[in-house]
Structures are given as structure tokens and as C-alpha cells.
């Protein structure tokens, strides 16, 4: 029995801001199987606009994305003037290694930090189920 059958994401909405199509395809597949409805955005500024509609429970945010970087999107999401009362949990999903103080700074603002190569899509579903 894997988590995908448990429907842990029933009724929840995920925004996946990810420019690597293969990865977003895999995440959409696993998350949908677990009951989430998933929107994908390929670049930072579009992703930020979508995120600010405040309809999501979880935002998966890559750091190396076009137009606005993930860090810029994260800052905008945490700035109450630009984004009042964001209800979504923001999880950084990246393969990029930061200088540690930068990473610590990101981690302070985000609800989670995942290295994509370390987890399979199924494991991502397990982690999202665990943090809610």
C-alpha cells in the first residue's frame, strides 16, 4: 500500500512553481493520485501572481526559475504589503545548494526545504501528508 492510495490530499490545492517539465509532470501525477488538485506554473512572476490569489494550501517553489527567482517569489509571499495573509504552506523544492547562511535565511521564511534528488514523488506525497 503506498500513500498515493490513501487520498491524503483530498480537496487540497497545490501550486507547483517548477520550470523542469519532467519534474512537474511526475509531481502532478503523484499528487493527483493522492487526491490533490495541482496547478503548475513555469516561471516566477506568473507563479507569484497565482500564489497571491490565495487559493492554495501548499506551494511547491523551485529556486532556479525564470523571470523572478524562487527567493524573490518567497520574499514577495512573505511581505505583508505584497501578499496579505498567505494561507498556503510554502515548501522549497530545489536541487540547488545554497551558501549556508543564504539557505538558513530561506528556511526561516519557508515552511520546508526539500532537495528534489533526495526524494521520489511518492516520498514527496508522504512528506506533504506529514506536515499538515
Amino acid at each position: 500500500m503506498d500513500q498515493n492510495d490513501t487520498n491524503s490530499g483530498a480537496g487540497k490545492k497545490v501550486l507547483c512553481i517548477e520550470d523542469e517539465h519532467f519534474i512537474s509532470e511526475l509531481y502532478v501525477r503523484s499528487l493527483s493520485k493522492a487526491g490533490y488538485s495541482v496547478d503548475v506554473e513555469l516561471d516566477g512572476s506568473e507563479g507569484l501572481k497565482k500564489a497571491q490569489t490565495n487559493q492554495y494550501d501548499i506551494i511547491l517553489l523551485d529556486l532556479m526559475i525564470p523571470t523572478l527567482t524562487g527567493i524573490e517569489v518567497l520574499r514577495a509571499l512573505r511581505d505583508p504589503e505584497q501578499t496579505p495573509e498567505l494561507k498556503a504552506k510554502v515548501i522549497i523544492t530545489t536541487n540547488l545548494e545554497q551558501r549556508e547562511d543564504v539557505r538558513a535565511d530561506i528556511e526561516k521564511q519557508a515552511d520546508g526545504y526539500l532537495v528534489k534528488a533526495e526524494i521520489t514523488p511518492r516520498e514527496l506525497v508522504d512528506i506533504l501528508a506529514a506536515i499538515q
Binding site: D2, N4, E20, F22, I23, L26, R29, S30, M64, N95, L96, E97, Q98, R99, E100, D101, V102, R103, A104, E107, D111, G112, Y113, L114, V115, K116, A117, E118, I119, T120, P121, R122, I127, I131
Partner: protein, 512 residues
């Protein structure tokens, strides 16, 4: 002038007295000679003349002693002041018989003059050093600010003006924080240091790295190191000194440019993520529909992708160790749980090579303080090694025990080819591999080097015991959490941060 006149009068009086006395003696002699001894007058006058000559000589010699005394005293006073003459005492004016007042007044003036001269020297010195200090401070090619105890800027140099893009008048006599809007990488900030120093310290100094100067829109951001020096209750009113070392170009490059290794790791990880994802999707889609052989192929692909992901982490962490950037967050953990989780992730890799992983875990272990991700890598590396070198044997045993020293000991034992004694000492060296096996078994020689760095940073030891033909046991020790807890900075910080070489870092797979 009065004193001089006085001296002259004194000498004149002395001389008149001496002459009167002398003449009196002579006249008395002539009178006595003619009255009582009836000596002819001509003889007496001749004798008197002789006596007069003798008396004048004697009196002159005696008087000269008196007359020269003031001169001697003055000479003594002058020589006494001469720094190059030793052992000449100051004149004792009270003992003078002649010209005491004159000498007293003159020596007083000599001493006064000497004091003035000395003062002139000091003033000249002071002026010279003030000029020098001003020259140094103003032209120091580093921005320099001096604060008083109200934390207002009382001095700023030329470099500060040009660095901050403000006139001196726009800097001085203002509160330092209204002039410098700084951000620090951690809670250890300049103002917290200064406030603490003002309460607790007489003097204190500190260096901050990577301080950011927040500027208005039309100016470029500045990044610098900041040196602070604090000196309490300074009578000059200069209490705190700040020197800024600009590193804008270097630090902003660091911030923007990801290092070569980090970039390579990113490029390796992205396809790896995709591969692992699609393999998993395949596995799910074909679950129960594959022949045992194809199922086995699937597991081998998964295991190999896992191994590659682990290796990418090894590269990254070795780079961190080498750059002094591996820092661990040590958290309390049940050790057997950690070991079981690590063994579970390795079981597929063992299984696809026909090896079983056995655990033999002691149930009396205290909790340990570990960085889960790093310690996971250590266990993985040791098991990976055992898998590589296990030869025909099919079992690897992982044990945990509480050793005699009260440390938690973990061993990974294989019954494989073993390691010759002469190379055991080099195993934990970077890029070192067993020569005889190099052709047959892959590996970079990074795993044990990294494991040793991680275990050392945990406060433990790593070791190996091996016999050729019988197999090897790799083991490491960890401190119980209670011993590490003493390092905790404060009670609400349950995390202990430690570097392989002393850096503050986070290092985790994911965190909330």
C-alpha cells in the same frame, strides 16, 4: 637688581671690615713695639709693611672662598639640571654666607627656565603627535567612525564620507544608526554588542563579516566587514571606534554566483530527480505485472539511482569539509531508530546484490546528539563499502552497543576480502583506495574521508579492524546527548551547532 646691590654691599662691608681690622692690627703693632720695646720706628714700619703683605695675601685667600660661593652654587644648579651630568646635587642655599638672596633668586629662575623648556618640549611633542593622529585618522584609507557614549558620531574621516556618500556635516553629531542602516548575517549585531559592552565591559573589540549597508534606491548596496573597538569612560569622550572593510565586489559575487561544485551538483541532481521519478512511476504502473527478472531489473535501476544520489551528496559534502563549510545541527535522537532508518534505505541496494543486512541493536542506549542527514551518510557510506568489498559473503551485520567509556558504538561488519594491515592507516585519507581492489571495485575514496570528518564533528571516533580473507569491521562512537547538551548555548535552543572546522551551518534534507 636689589639682590645684586645687596651682594655688592655685603662684599663691600666685608672688605671695609677686613681693611679696618688689618690697619688696626698694624697700628696696634707699631704702638706696642715703640712704647714697650723701644724698637726704632723705621724697623717697625718695615716689619709692618711685611706683615701687611702677609695679611693681605691671607685675607684675600680667605675672602675669595666667601666671594666664590654664590658662583659655585649657581654652577651647581645649572649642572644639576643637565641631564647628561650625573651625581651633582642641587645647591644648598641655606648654607651660603654671601649673596644668599641673589643665589636663591637666580637658581629659582634657572629652575623655572628649565621647567619651561621641558614644557615647551612636551607641547611640541604633543602637537606633533596630534598632527600625526589627525593625519592618520583623516587619511586612513578605511572608513573610520568614532562614537561617544550616546552612540553619536563624534568623528568621521574622509574615507567614511566618500564610502557613505555623505558630507562630514551630514555624518558627525548624528546617531550612528541614523547614518548606518546595517544588516548582519545573524543576531550577533553591532548594536547588541555595543549595548552589552556599555553594561559589562571596560574594553571590548569585535569583528563582523558580511555586513550589509542598506542604502536608498539610487545608491549601490555595500557589503563589508566591520571592526568595532569599545573603551568605557574615556575622558576624551571617544568611546567606540568603527572601521569598515569594504568587500562589496567579493561578497556580492559570492552571493550571486553559485560555486562550480554547487552548480555541478544541481546539474547532476536534476536528471537524477527525473530518473528516480520515472523509475518509481514505472514501478507503480507495472506493480505485480512484471516477470521476476524484470522486477529485479527495476530494483537494480532504483538502487543504482539511489547510489548516484548518495554519491552526489558525498561530492558536495567533501567540498564543504574542504572549504570549512560543513556544519552540523546536532539534535537529540534515539540512536537505534536512526540506524534502522538508514539501514532501511540501504536494504534495496544490498538486496539487488544478493546481500542481506542484519541488525543487532542494544536496547540500553542513551539518546545521542546527531545531525540526522550527515550521520545517515556515514552509515550509508560504511554499508556501501561493506557491499562493495563483501566478496562472496552474503551478510552484513550492523550492531549498536554502549561501550565501556559510556559512548554509543556502532559497527558495520562484513565477511569479505578484508584489508591488508599496511594500508589500514590510510583508509580515511581522501581519494585513498585499496590498490589490489581498485581494478575490480569502483569508488572514489571519498566516503571514508567524509565519514571521518562527520564523526569527528560529532565528537566521536571512527576506526577499522580487519583481517585479509576474514572481513572487516568499521566502527564509530558517538557521545550521549547529555554530554553534548552541556554545549547548548541556552535552554531554549535544543539544537547544537557544530562545524567540522567551526562554522555555523544548517545541514538537513528538509526541515520545517
Amino acid at each position: 637688581v636689589d639682590n645684586l646691590q645687596q651682594l655688592l654691599n655685603q662684599i663691600r662691608k666685608h672688605l671695609v671690615l677686613v681693611l679696618v681690622l688689618e690697619n688696626a692690627i698694624l697700628l696696634a703693632g707699631i704702638w706696642v713695639g715703640s712704647t714697650y720695646f723701644s724698637i726704632p720706628l723705621a724697623y717697625l714700619i718695615a716689619a709692618s709693611a711685611c706683615l701687611a703683605a702677609i695679611l693681605i695675601t691671607v685675607i684675600t685667600i680667605v675672602t675669595a672662598q666667601y666671594v666664590i660661593e654664590p658662583t659655585r652654587a649657581l654652577w651647581q644648579a645649572i649642572v644639576h639640571l643637565n641631564p647628561y651630568e650625573q651625581g651633582v646635587a642641587a645647591p644648598d642655599i641655606e648654607k651660603l654666607r654671601v649673596g644668599r638672596n641673589l643665589v636663591a633668586s637666580l637658581t629659582a629662575q634657572i629652575y623655572q627656565l628649565a621647567t619651561n623648556a621641558e614644557h615647551v618640549d612636551i607641547v611640541a611633542d604633543k602637537q606633533a603627535s596630534n598632527t600625526r593622529a589627525e593625519f592618520i585618522m583623516n587619511n586612513l584609507p578605511l572608513p573610520l567612525l568614532v562614537l561617544d557614549k550616546e552612540q553619536n558620531i563624534v568623528f568621521s574621516n574622509e574615507a567614511a564620507s566618500s564610502y557613505l556618500g555623505r558630507e562630514k556635516a551630514d555624518i558627525q553629531n548624528k546617531n550612528v544608526y541614523s547614518v548606518l542602516d546595517m544588516s548582519f548575517p545573524s543576531d550577533d549585531t553591532f548594536d547588541s554588542w555595543l549595548n552589552t559592552s556599555q553594561v559589562n565591559s571596560a574594553t571590548s573589540s569585535r569583528l563582523w563579516e558580511r555586513v550589509r549597508l542598506n542604502v536608498t534606491d539610487n545608491q549601490p548596496t555595500r557589503l563589508f566587514d566591520l571592526a568595532g573597538y569599545y573603551n568605557k569612560d574615556n575622558s576624551t569622550g571617544n568611546e567606540t571606534m568603527m572601521v569598515l572593510f569594504d568587500h562589496t565586489s567579493q561578497y556580492s559575487q559570492d552571493d550571486q554566483a553559485v560555486s562550480f561544485i554547487a552548480l555541478s551538483v544541481h546539474e547532476l541532481r536534476t536528471p537524477l530527480t527525473v530518473l528516480r521519478g520515472y523509475i518509481e512511476a514505472f514501478e507503480e504502473e507495472f506493480e505485480g505485472k512484471l516477470s521476476p527478472e524484470l522486477q529485479d531489473f527495476m530494483y537494480k535501476m532504483q538502487a543504482t539511482a539511489q547510489q548516484l544520489a548518495a554519491f552526489v551528496n558525498n561530492i558536495l559534502n567533501v567540498a564543504r569539509v574542504d572549504e570549512d563549510q560543513l556544519v552540523l545541527s546536532l539534535n537529540e535522537a534515539s540512536w537505534n531508530e536512526v540506524v534502522e532508518a538508514a539501514v532501511a534505505t540501504m536494504s534495496l541496494r544490498a538486496q539487488v546484490r544478493g546481500i542481506t543486512l542484519e541488525t543487532n541493536l542494544a536496547d540500553n542506549l542513551p539518546t545521542v546528539g546527531v545531525d540526522r542527514v550527515s550521520i545517515h551518510e556515514v552509515i550509508n557510506n560504511l554499508i556501501d563499502n561493506a557491499i562493495k568489498y563483501t566478496g562472496k559473503s552474503t551478510k552484513i551485520i550492523v550492531t549498536t552497543t554502549l561501550n565501556k567509556e559510556g559512548m554509543v558504538e556502532t559497527t558495520v561488519t562484513d565477511h569479505g576480502v578484508g584489508i591488508p594491515e599496511n594500508i589500514m592507516g590510510n583508509l580515511f585519507t581522501k581519494f585513498y583506495r585499496d590498490h589490489r581492489n581498485r581494478a575490480q571495485i569502483g569508488g572514489t575514496g571519498l566516503g571514508l574521508y567524509l565519514s571521518k570528518s562527520i564523526i569527528t564533528a560529532h565528537g566521536g571516533n571512527i576506526w577499522v579492524r580487519s583481517k585479509v580473507g576474514e572481513g572487516s569491521t568499521f566502527g564509530f562512537t558517538l557521545l550521549p546527548f547529555t554530554e553534548l547538551a552541556a554545549e547548548r548555548k541556552n535552554s531554549d535552543n535544543t539544537e547544537i551547532v557544530r562545524g567540522a572546522h567551526g562554522w555555523i551551518k544548517n545541514h538537513s534534507l528538509y526541515r520545517r
